[in-house]
Symmetry: C2
Subunit: 456 residues, 2 copies
């Protein structure tokens, strides 16, 4: 049957591309209020595409932000259920003058489709819908039960879907979730992401004097909250990147030897990575751990922003009354965010310099996610991916967080297959975002093939 | 003769006050371009007041900013020459709605004259001019030679006067400078400031990666310039306020035992100071040094501003490409700014974390100023002050810098008498700035008395 869906895709290549272009022409920029109508139009486009593919009970669900699109097809009796996720909103296209062709006029060059949202995530979510269409076209039915939940706020925080998942676990119940919003490790390498680091994100506010003071008059006796933050933060991590907060490494589950081995044979050139991706004079981080271990599997502590006092051009001799820093910690599997957060808050308390008051605000806290590569759905997905791209599937992790995966794990108790078809150089969030057209078709085929094999 | 000038002031109290009010009605806000004509009008007011007092060769000197006003009277053969300085520009009056009476409508309440610029510095510079007028009125001539150099850019950096002093040392040559722009230590206490700390003001820019990076993808390997600054700055000073840059205390000249003793008997309540002036939970700084020593006579290192990464509300997981900090050092007498700066730059170089590049920009560097209290002019000034306020003159220092004093020392090689008549609660730069009317008259009398005694 896989050859039948492949043949369907090959036969309808032009139409499939044209329809994706229609989707991409809608400037569904979720961050910009004057594009709210476009975001709604994109939701309607998704809903009609789902209906056209044969998905039932398609609903546009209003939220306090942008709408969710739900649909299902539940007639594969005795077969597992897959919850499909993607998003139809896009990043703002700025800076506009760096685009070779206009961001909302999809244009083909060198086998790529250039448009805002091409890879992130319209091209990918559309592959899911077109996989359903191709399966229905060749057999009239589907090999598994499917639920779709597609959001329009991914680029602005995804609050509505998070709330919806928490409030509707029965409606969304499934055996596995399929998220198509990631990328291949490299061109032509079928890739499943099976681990995401957890994230605690905080804001620390330091206060000293009750008002801004003149550093000539008060320098030497007045506490300086900028320096207070400097003292505190400098104690949190040493120069080698080792976090000094007690207990920070207690529960870290290291990657298995097999996983470490699989990382060691991934094509990777550290010099190229340093030069082309990071661009600093050298890489940093814990000695004795590889780049993959440091970015995928080790806890980190970063300061994302710091602000205080006078920062405009020139000199002002002020001792400011307050200063703030945004500080996050990434966590490895098995680390408990509550426990880490408690240790962090205790550390701040114990290391607050004299004369300074520190207040910690927690903006988010979510644990690491790891999916067992031996889970049946993952094994099937890996096989399907491998069949289509004709190369062995690699299992990687990501150092970032994808909040919806945590929501699915927490509220639905289902693992997520992160099966995406983007490429590292697709330019997500940048000018000239592209999606390789061959990967668009391969995505449709792979998803269809996964549904078929998972239904057997 | 002093009783004659006193009598003159007493006789003409009303007129002297009315004329100061006229001066204060001119909104000579140097920072606001739409007040440039008012600033010019204030310069013209100063020039005509000088002429009316009998000062000769009065000139309004154009600059690239606001004009200087020069004038002299050089007929006291064989007598010393005093260079008088003040400024006729004022701070912006915002926030306007906190003023009880309008800032440019001088209003008398409780023996105070309320107006923007009343104490800083129109009331004070006008005392100098009126002292000349009173001396000329009673004797037809002056007991010393006088030069006036009055600027209109003090509140915006004073660049033009600094350039003018550097370029015209012969024209401005004098035996001593008299700056009337400071305050009494407390109500009724004649006060001369005989020391100012030096100041080196720098900006450090830290750079890591060539672009902003996602902390999920790159956290653990990419250098973070915010943390780089944190590491560097934390090494510059310990928790007790002791600067750790080598050589930072090598040349510090401590106050003499006599000076320390004079400070120890100044009326001062540390608890009140903490509560009412600083408002933090406690004072900080080097143990074993008094508040006066820490703010007037010890080197300090402060971070005045810090900026980098994401600082708007909410969370963004960025490792920024750069971060900056404004860092200054205050210096004690005998410390050489060049030497301190070299040690500072060397320290930055040696303590720059791996993967980070630091660039230091020096915004200003000026040495501490100290005036020998046994200098004849200072002794005469102290005696004159003491005669008028009928209390012993105290010698204090200030932890801040007054750049014009450094310019006079550097380019004219003259010491400066900092003889001011403001009060600590005059509210300079704040709404409801005031000048005690009795201090306005006492200022005229004291300056006249000083000229008389210095001419003998």
């Amino acid at each position: 049957m896989s050859s039948a869906t492949n043949a369907f895709v090959e036969l309808h290549e032009d139409r499939l591309l044209e329809e994706l272009k229609q989707f991409l022409r809608i400037p569904s920029i979720s961050a910009q209020p004057d594009h709210a109508a476009d975001v709604k139009r994109a939701a309607e486009f998704v809903a009609s595409s789902l209906r056209a593919a044969g998905v039932e009970h398609v609903q546009i669900i209003p939220t306090s932000g942008h709408p969710l699109v739900y649909g299902d097809w539940l007639h594969a009796r005795g077969k597992p259920t897959v919850l499909c996720y993607g998003h139809y909103d896009v990043q703002p296209p700025d800076p506009l003058d760096e685009w070779v062709s206009p961001p909302f006029e999809p244009t083909v060059r060198n086998g790529n489709l250039y448009a805002r949202g091409a890879a992130d995530d319209k091209g990918q979510v559309y592959s899911q819908i077109k996989a359903v269409e191709s399966l229905r076209a060749v057999s009239g039915e589907l090999p598994v039960n499917l639920k779709f939940l597609i959001e329009g706020e991914e680029e602005t925080g995804g609050e509505s879907i998070s709330k919806y998942v928490a409030e509707n676990p029965a409606k969304l119940q499934a055996d596995v979730a399929l998220v198509s919003d990631t990328e291949l490790y490299a061109e032509g390498i079928p890739t499943l992401c099976i681990g995401l680091r957890g994230l605690i994100y905080t804001e620390i506010e330091a206060r000293g004097a009750s008002r801004d003071l003149h550093s000539g008059m008060y320098g030497g006796v007045a506490p300086n909250p900028i320096f207070g933050l400097v003292e505190l933060l400098s104690k949190m991590k040493d120069a080698k990147g080792h976090i000094l907060i007690p207990g920070m490494y207690d529960d870290v589950r290291p990657p298995s030897p097999a996983e470490k081995h699989s990382w060691s044979i991934l094509p990777f050139d550290e010099k190229e990575f340093l030069k082309n991706e990071v661009g600093s004079s050298r890489l940093t981080g814990e000695p004795g751990y590889s780049v993959f271990e440091r970015t995928w599997a080790r806890p980190t502590l970063e300061v994302h922003g710091i602000a205080g006092g006078y920062t405009a051009p020139g000199a002002k001799t002020v001792i400011p009354a307050k200063a703030t820093a945004k500080v996050s910690m990434r966590m490895a599997p098995d680390q408990d965010p509550e426990k880490i957060l408690a240790a962090y808050q205790q550390f701040v308390k114990e290391n607050t310099p004299a004369g300074i008051e520190m207040q910690v605000r927690v903006l988010s806290a979510s644990p690491a996610i790891s999916v067992n590569p031996d889970h049946p759905a993952i094994r099937v997905a890996a096989k399907a991916f491998s069949d289509i791209l004709e190369r062995e599937t690699v299992f990687i992790r990501s150092g970032g967080s994808i909040p919806i995966v945590g929501d699915f794990a927490t509220h639905l108790k289902v693992p997520t297959i992160l099966m995406g078809f983007g490429l590292p150089d697709d330019g997500l969030h940048s000018p000239n975002e592209k999606y390789k057209i061959a990967n668009y078709y391969a995505g449709i085929m792979t998803i269809a093939h996964f549904f078929e094999q998972y239904g057997q």
